[in-house]
């Protein structure tokens, strides 16, 4: 058997995949202009000598002088390209400052640098869709500023950017230099949310909510006879004088609670118009989650987040401002995460046992996928305090251009209303998200339900 011929590969091997040294072609290559200059110079000289015409030789002179002047010093290194973007706390609708910088470490100036940048459609950066033609002096740099506005939450990329450089009067050109994209973190705008109702089950050791357990707190539970161990300052002197026996005021302990925000990310519905336009399901989900988390974390409660999707991402419960920042960071990575498996198999993916039995579970869902309704029913059956927040846009409609589309849309609406009704019958309160105070009535109902002794 003969040895295999060693042929050069058509595609240069990458550094990661190839063995040995990576393929590295010359960074600078001659342009067609150089070929033209050399050809015309040679041809004119040849004709001049052949025909004995000095004028033809003189016509070659500019080409020869231009090429000699341009190529007297050759570039040695490739240009360096960097993208800088805001690292500050940017909220939807806020101002973003980004810049692409070309550095020239070479001994010759770059006569022309064509700079192109691709940016996220949700970053409205000035002139970012156009190439920039600039010049960079030797051992210098030039920065193209791209100011603009961030229109939607998420990690919005600035880049990748590419630069193509021409030097030596356009006789040499550099192979395009590409730099990776840089993400700008745009946090969701938090719609104002305020809930005055008590938590259904306060379960921690300390906090602001009155619990159902007696202890040191501010909420009066009743008056009872004095017992060994009671503090003297707890003695209710009026009752003691009236009954001629020592009585103390009993209070309920103040404790914190756990709030679980369950985000239904099985699909995206509606068209997002950014911060100033219409809101899609995920827009409403993320903005409402941020608002609810901010509210409860300010009150000292523990907040955790969980995705109802294929990845089932989870954020551990914690409290305080640090957790709020973590929640915002976690929400940046929310994206549609459909589950392709059979709906019956999905029961095993989402484990209800992950949820604390005392936690208030707020499920933000468009209630379009039947599995979401099943999940809500299962949570309620397992004894969790569940509130479903309907995130479906009011103007959501079935897309399609067929004659039967309006009818299909109406049927789908009726079916969805039927599901909502059945959920309410099973004790799952479903409320549309409307910002401040929208959940008060529902939370009050849940708190009342929690007062009923549990037992099955």
């Amino acid at each position: 058997m003969t040895d295999r011929l060693s042929l050069r590969t058509a595609v240069p091997p990458t550094a990661a995949g190839g063995e040995g040294e990576a393929w590295a072609g010359p960074a600078w290559v001659p342009t067609r202009a150089l070929g033209r200059a050399v050809l015309l110079t040679g041809l004119f000289l040849l004709l001049g000598v052949a025909l004995g015409r000095v004028d033809l030789v003189l016509m070659a002179a500019p080409f020869a002088i231009g090429a000699a002047a341009g190529l007297r010093r050759m570039p040695r290194s490739a240009p360096e390209l960097t993208i800088t973007a805001d690292e500050e706390h940017i909220v939807e609708g806020g101002h973003v400052e980004a810049a692409v910088t070309v550095s020239n470490t070479d001994v010759i100036p770059y006569d022309l640098v064509v700079l192109r940048t691709r940016t996220s459609p949700w970053l409205k950066l000035e002139q970012a869709d156009r190439p920039f033609a600039i010049t960079v002096p030797r051992d210098g740099w030039y920065s193209v500023q791209l100011p603009g506005d961030a229109m939607r939450w998420g990690r919005q990329p600035v880049g990748p950017a590419a630069a193509r450089v021409a030097a030596c009067g356009g006789l040499l050109a550099c192979r395009p230099v590409v730099v990776e994209a840089r993400g700008v973190r745009v946090y969701p705008v938090t719609e104002p949310f305020n809930a005055t109702e008590a938590m259904p089950a306060a379960a921690g050791l300390v906090g602001n909510h009155r619990s159902r357990r007696p202890g040191e707190g501010g909420e009066l539970a009743g008056v009872r006879p004095f017992a060994p161990g009671d503090r003297l300052r707890r003695i209710d002197w009026r009752v003691s004088l009236r009954t001629r026996d020592l009585h103390v005021a009993a209070t309920l302990s103040d404790r914190d609670a756990e709030v679980v925000l369950l985000l239904d990310v099985l699909g995206e519905i509606g068209l997002s118009g950014g911060v100033a336009g219409s809101a899609s399901v995920l827009d409403t989900t993320v903005r409402a989650s941020a608002a609810i988390a901010e509210h409860y974390l300010q009150r000292g409660d523990r907040v955790s987040l969980l995705e109802y999707g294929a990845a089932a991402r989870r954020l551990r419960p914690a409290t305080g401002r640090r957790q709020y920042l973590t929640v915002l960071e976690w929400l940046l990575d929310v994206r549609p995460d459909p589950v392709e498996v059979d709906e019956n198999d999905y029961d095993n993916v989402f484990g209800i046992h992950h949820l604390s039995s005392d936690a208030l579970v707020m499920v933000l869902t468009p209630l379009v996928d039947p599995r979401s309704a099943d999940m809500l029913a299962q949570l309620t059956q397992s004894g969790r305090y569940v509130v479903a927040v309907d995130t479906l846009p009011a103007d959501a409609k079935v897309t399609g251009g067929g004659n039967w589309t309006p009818l299909a849309g109406r049927l789908w609406r009726l079916e969805r209303e039927n599901v909502l009704g059945r959920l309410r019958e099973h004790g799952v309160p479903v409320v549309a998200w409307a910002g401040a105070g929208s959940l008060d009535l529902v939370l009050r109902d849940v708190a009342r339900l929690a007062l009923i002794p549990r037992g099955r």
């Binding site: 200059a37 041809l43 000095v54 033809l56 070659a60 500019p62 022309l112 920039f132 033609a133």
Partner: protein
């Protein structure tokens, strides 16, 4: 038909996106070509209805497709016309015509090189275009001085033009060879 409609739409999109300076650069390429042909070619052929459109097409084509071989063809057509006029028709080799043709050929060449790398919709820095034109102007000026001096010298030598062309041509050929050798060694 469908393809033609798509091409018209694409052209309309290009025109809507185009910016002033890249357009002016391409217009300058076409203008250089037209004037060079006008100066170099015999007046009878330029006035002819048969050749005039063809010559205009050759002059304008590098502006439309600067990345192609149009600029080389255009320069060759200019020189062909110049030889035809001076050898065929018997026109005199005048200083202004030689300088104009050499200047316009080089300007057309260097502006085509710029147009080839300059996107039509780019936001162009004036420094870049200014620097480019300044360098081209310096080259043209040096060449013009060289032309004036050389043609004056050849007139003084009275009949030694063939010898002078040979000497200058061989010197330039040696220079060009050194240049190409440097480039090959670099690559």
């Amino acid at each position: 038909m469908f393809k033609l409609g798509a091409q018209i739409d694409a052209a309309r999109g290009v025109l809507a996106q185009a910016t002033a300076l890249p357009f002016l650069v391409r217009a300058a390429v076409a203008l250089c070509g037209l004037i060079a042909i006008g100066v170099a070619w015999p007046a009878e052929l330029i006035a002819s209805q048969l050749t005039a459109p063809l010559l205009m097409l050759v002059a304008i084509y590098p502006a439309v497709a600067p990345r192609g071989r149009g600029a080389t063809s255009s320069a060759l057509v200019v020189v062909a016309g110049w030889i035809a006029d001076t050898v065929g028709v018997g026109a005199h080799v005048e200083l202004w015509r030689v300088i104009t043709i050499a200047t316009l050929l080089y300007l057309g060449h260097t502006l085509t090189a710029l147009a080839a790398v300059l996107p039509y919709d780019a936001i162009v820095s004036f420094d870049m275009v200014g620097g480019w034109l300044l360098r081209a102007g310096a080259v043209v000026l040096v060449s013009a001085v060289l032309t004036v001096a050389t043609l004056g010298l050849s007139a003084d030598l009275a009949g030694g033009a063939f010898v002078l062309a040979t000497i200058v041509g061989i010197a330039c050929a040696v220079g060009a060879t050194i240049l190409i050798a440097r480039l090959l060694r670099r690559a």
